[in-house]
């Protein structure tokens, strides 16, 4: 389901005309996503799903309520407006309620690609056929998943704000296993246009890793020099970025809280090699032109040469702390080095290469301490060469340590993690010290 700017504006106008609250905000998310899944060398499930969700926020002074519905005939719009208004009337006054934003200026850019949003089932089936044929020919077992989608986001309110954006997206990931179940490899990425994604190359990488990871040897848990591939870095990066909230830091319940009060903004928190920012205009991982409430998005520097530069400020918290509002990151970009992962391996005397991480959960938010496992390809590096496969590990470690102890990086690339498959991330592979806490027999 794709809505043009005029169609979106018309739904918002009709909804605002029905509204009786002091102030009203209407947002629309229209999405069409098609997908195909294969496993065990055959297709399994597939789909093509359209939806349009209209959310109404009603404000009576400092009382507010929200309701959403996925139909936009007049009767449905009237129902959702009434529901939001009834909810708002019940709500107690919220001392933190902020007035709605008026008209805003947004960046004039769009990376939307109609061919990606509406690709036919045959284009997905052909990728699956290629992957399955290759796997059968080489005595391997293929599983994978691909999507292509188009999403329209629009927002309008009774103060004259109107925002509209369209994004297209293609995703592909695949896991190739050996028939005996003693080897497994993975590769995947996200892109904003189908023609930017080389699914065949990702199929080849996963198959190569499956074969390479056969007959893994054991290595005692402990702290090692480890090269984390971009997919593994992406997950650690995102868990770290989850902590960027200024209010939690000011309230003393965050890694970014300063002992005795305040935040660590301006303090060195990571290695001076680390620079992390958000940039919705970066064509490698474009983000929307507006964030919640209609706030325009722009480039934000989070970490510059290891120093914390900014945190996320809601409009209320920014007002209270006399700071500028800063929306949550719409993408995360980490500056890398110049070489490839192969170059990193070549320059490593003794280490471990990790393809990706899995099932990551917080152990302690205060130190951003996480637990999780390695998956789909762990290898021993000796004298600049991959020597043999290793069994998987559980890790108990924190991105703060990973990004403080890193000593080398590859160039940054668009990637996706296991816990961050929908988030737009560009990052390098990093070489660092990493702690494996126990062994896992899982393949």
């Amino acid at each position: 389901m794709s809505l043009t700017r005029d169609e979106a504006r018309d739904i918002i106008r009709r909804t605002l005309e029905m509204a009786k609250a002091d102030e009203t905000e209407v947002s629309i998310e229209a999405n069409r996503e098609a997908n195909l899944r294969y496993a065990n060398n055959e297709v399994s499930t597939s789909g093509d799903v359209s939806n349009v969700v209209i959310t109404v926020g009603a404000y009576y002074g400092k009382r507010r309520g929200a309701a959403s519905i996925n139909q936009y005939d007049d009767e449905s719009l009237r129902r959702v407006v009434q529901r939001a208004q009834e909810t708002a009337r019940f709500a107690p006054e919220d001392p933190e309620s902020m007035p709605l934003l008026g008209e805003q200026k947004y960046a004039d850019r769009s990376h939307y690609d109609e061919a990606t949003a509406s690709a036919a089932p045959e284009s997905r089936a052909s990728v699956a056929r290629h992957a399955i044929q290759l796997a059968k020919k080489t005595n391997l077992v293929a599983a994978g998943f691909m999507t292509n989608s188009g999403t329209v986001s629009a927002l309008g309110n009774s103060r004259g704000l109107f925002a509209y954006d369209r994004l297209s997206r293609a995703t592909f990931s695949n896991t190739v296993r050996t028939k005996e179940g003693n080897g497994s490899g993975w590769a995947g990425t996200n892109a904003d246009r189908l023609d930017q994604m080389n699914a065949a190359a990702l199929v080849d990488t996963a198959a190569e890793k499956a074969v390479m990871s056969k007959n893994p040897r054991s290595l005692d848990p402990g702290t090692y020099t480890v090269i984390l591939e971009p997919a593994a870095v992406a997950d650690l990066l995102l868990y770290f970025a989850f902590q960027f909230d200024a209010r939690s830091a000011d309230e003393g319940r965050s890694f970014f809280s300063k002992k005795g009060g305040g935040t660590k903004v301006g303090e060195k928190v990571l290695s001076d090699k680390v620079t992390i920012w958000t940039d919705p205009g970066d064509t490698r991982a474009p983000g929307p032109v507006f964030a919640g409430g209609g706030l325009p998005t722009s480039r934000v520097s989070w970490i510059e040469n290891g120093v914390l530069r900014n945190l996320v400020y809601s409009r209320f918290w920014a007002d209270k702390m006399k700071a500028e509002p800063v929306p949550s990151p719409v993408n995360i970009i980490m500056k890398g080095g110049t070489g490839s992962i192969a170059d990193l391996v070549k320059s490593t005397k003794n280490g471990v290469l990790v393809t990706r991480l899995w099932y990551i959960r917080f152990l302690d938010p205060q130190s951003v301490l996480l637990t999780g496992l390695t998956r789909d390809g762990v290898f021993k590096i000796e004298n600049g060469k991959i020597r043999h496969a290793l069994r998987n590990f559980r890790f108990n470690d924190t991105p703060v340590s990973v990004f403080s102890k890193l000593d080398a990086m590859s160039r940054e690339v668009r990637t996706r993690g296991s816990e961050s498959e929908d988030f737009s991330i560009v990052c390098p592979a990093v070489r660092t010290q990493f702690t494996f806490s126990s062994a896992s027999e899982a393949v």
Binding site: V49, S68, Q71, F90, S257, I360, S367, N396, A442
Partner: protein
């Protein structure tokens, strides 16, 4: 056009376009979410989602398409699209899909509730949430309290070309709170979540739960956690209360007994399973006293319903009997994979727009046969740790290596609770852990559960409960996770 006419039109169109089997789900989902912190209501939202999904088999290949636009013309378009997708995928199909037989049912089913949460005034819910926060914040040292309630109502209509027409109304709720204690000078903070679990019940359940008393106790415990001693790592006898054990059951028993995982159909996402089909009927999963059953029929359990999304009536069966792995969770298109004639009714799609596939039923540990209470079990333990409440949880993609924490860990010395310990987690290998289970209480069977069990691509959530009484595990590895930055 009436709903029934639309359902029949979808089935007829799919057949005309070449489907050998088709079903349609025309579903409406109502959701309410109320969030508060301290004295504020931070969010109240109500959502309604309505639409249909059509699933077809063409030459033994599945196709699925869905839309929120519930009109006759869109039904025609989507039915044709589902058939076109199946045709496009046919060339990449291995063995054709075979559906286990099921009778045609014309029936209705509803979660038994006394008070429909969607008819309870929002004000009552807000009053309760703010009372929880106030009770917590009365405790010295408790700095913050957030609380929330989530309610879901699924109104589902199912029809298939095999003649079933089934209507169901399913109600679930997930109330919860978190108290945070902060020591600003030391730069430390600790949290304690509610031990209450999501449940498939009416609002009368929420009204009967002792929220205010638990909030006060939780706040006291959050403050105590700031100064609790760090656990001495090593081997301990571990007792897990139902509020913690349910999640360990979910991860280490529920997921590995999913047949699609065991056969590789989740290899690219959730993972596979160490319980491969060659182990069926033979593998010693746990000690002799360990018995797990699956069902979608237990009252108040989250996965409970009358029929699954294949139109199969729900029932109870054993997964682990006297410690031996004896069966899987299955759907109609999976039963034949292991030579079974009937599905165990585990098909579920989390929305009208989500393709139904195998999802976890309620998986529960049968209470012990010898009479035993938790207090008696503690008294019987010389050097142990007692865990209560879910916290951090992580397990590998074949479900061997897990590491779980708890909201509260108590040290047990000479049969008595010796106080709280912090920074603990238990780490084990699934079959070793369940084989170390030496006593299961006969008293105190309680349901825990999750609203958000994730699986599949595109990702879908499933709500599922796990019943158990407290149990003891011998010589479990307790690690210390503390890390100073």
């Amino acid at each position: 056009m009436q709903d029934r006419e639309l359902l029949m039109r979808a089935l007829e169109t799919a057949k005309q376009k070449g489907a050998s089997y088709a079903d349609i789900r025309l579903n409406r989902y109502l959701r309410q979410s109320i969030n508060t912190r301290e004295k504020r209501v931070t969010n109240i939202s109500n959502s309604e989602s309505f639409g249909f999904g059509i699933r077809v088999l063409v030459d033994g290949t599945w196709g699925f398409a869905a839309s929120q636009n519930v009109t006759a013309a869109e039904i025609d378009r989507v039915a044709a699209q589902a058939v076109a997708i199946a045709r496009a995928n046919r060339a990449a199909q291995g063995k054709p899909v075979v559906l286990a037989p099921v009778k045609a049912y014309r029936d209705t089913w509803q979660t038994p509730v006394m008070k429909d949460p969607f008819r309870v005034p929002t004000q009552n819910k807000i009053d309760l949430l703010l009372a929880i926060n106030a009770a917590a914040l009365k405790v010295k040292g408790a700095a913050f309290c957030t609380s929330n309630m989530n309610f879901v109502k699924e109104e589902k209509q199912f029809a298939s070309t095999e003649g079933s027409e089934i209507e169901q109304v399913i109600i679930r709720q997930a109330p919860s709170f978190t108290v945070t204690a902060v020591d600003r000078q030391a730069g430390k903070f600790k949290t304690r979540n509610s031990l209450a679990e999501p449940i498939g019940a009416g609002y009368e359940w929420t009204e009967s739960y002792p929220w205010v008393a638990e909030a006060e106790k939780a706040a006291e415990q959050a403050v105590q956690k700031l100064s609790a001693k760090s656990v001495e790592p090593g081997k301990y006898d571990l007792i897990l209360a139902p509020s913690n054990l349910w999640l360990t059951i979910h991860e280490s028993v529920g997921h590995p007994t999913e047949l699609d995982r065991a056969l590789g159909y989740e290899a690219n996402y959730a993972g596979t399973s160490f319980l491969t089909t060659d182990k069926l009927g033979k593998f010693k999963f746990g000690s002799d006293i360990v018995n797990f059953f699956a069902d979608r029929t237990q009252p108040q359990a989250l996965a409970t319903c009358g029929y699954d999304d294949d139109g199969v009536p729900t029932h109870e069966w054993d997964l682990i009997r006297n410690g031996v792995f004896v069966d899987y969770q299955t759907t109609r298109d999976q039963a034949a994979w292991i030579g079974q004639k009937e599905s165990h009714a585990c098909s579920y799609g989390d929305s009208w727009g989500s393709v139904p596939f195998q999802r976890m039923p309620n998986v529960s540990l049968r209470p012990g046969k010898e009479k035993l209470t938790l207090d008696e079990l503690i008294a019987d333990t010389k050097r142990g740790i007692l865990g209560e409440g879910r916290s951090s949880y992580s397990i590998d993609q074949q479900r061997y290596n897990f590491q779980f924490s708890a909201q509260l860990f108590y040290e047990i010395r000479d049969g008595k609770i010796a106080g709280l310990v912090e920074d603990a987690a238990y780490q084990a290998i699934t079959p070793e852990f369940w084989n170390s289970c030496d006593r299961i209480c006969s008293e105190g069977y309680t349901l825990g559960g999750s609203f958000y069990d994730g699986k599949g691509e595109p990702g879908q959530v499933n709500a599922v409960s796990h019943g158990c009484a407290a149990a003891r595990f011998r010589n479990v590895n307790i690690i210390n996770t503390a890390r100073t930055m």
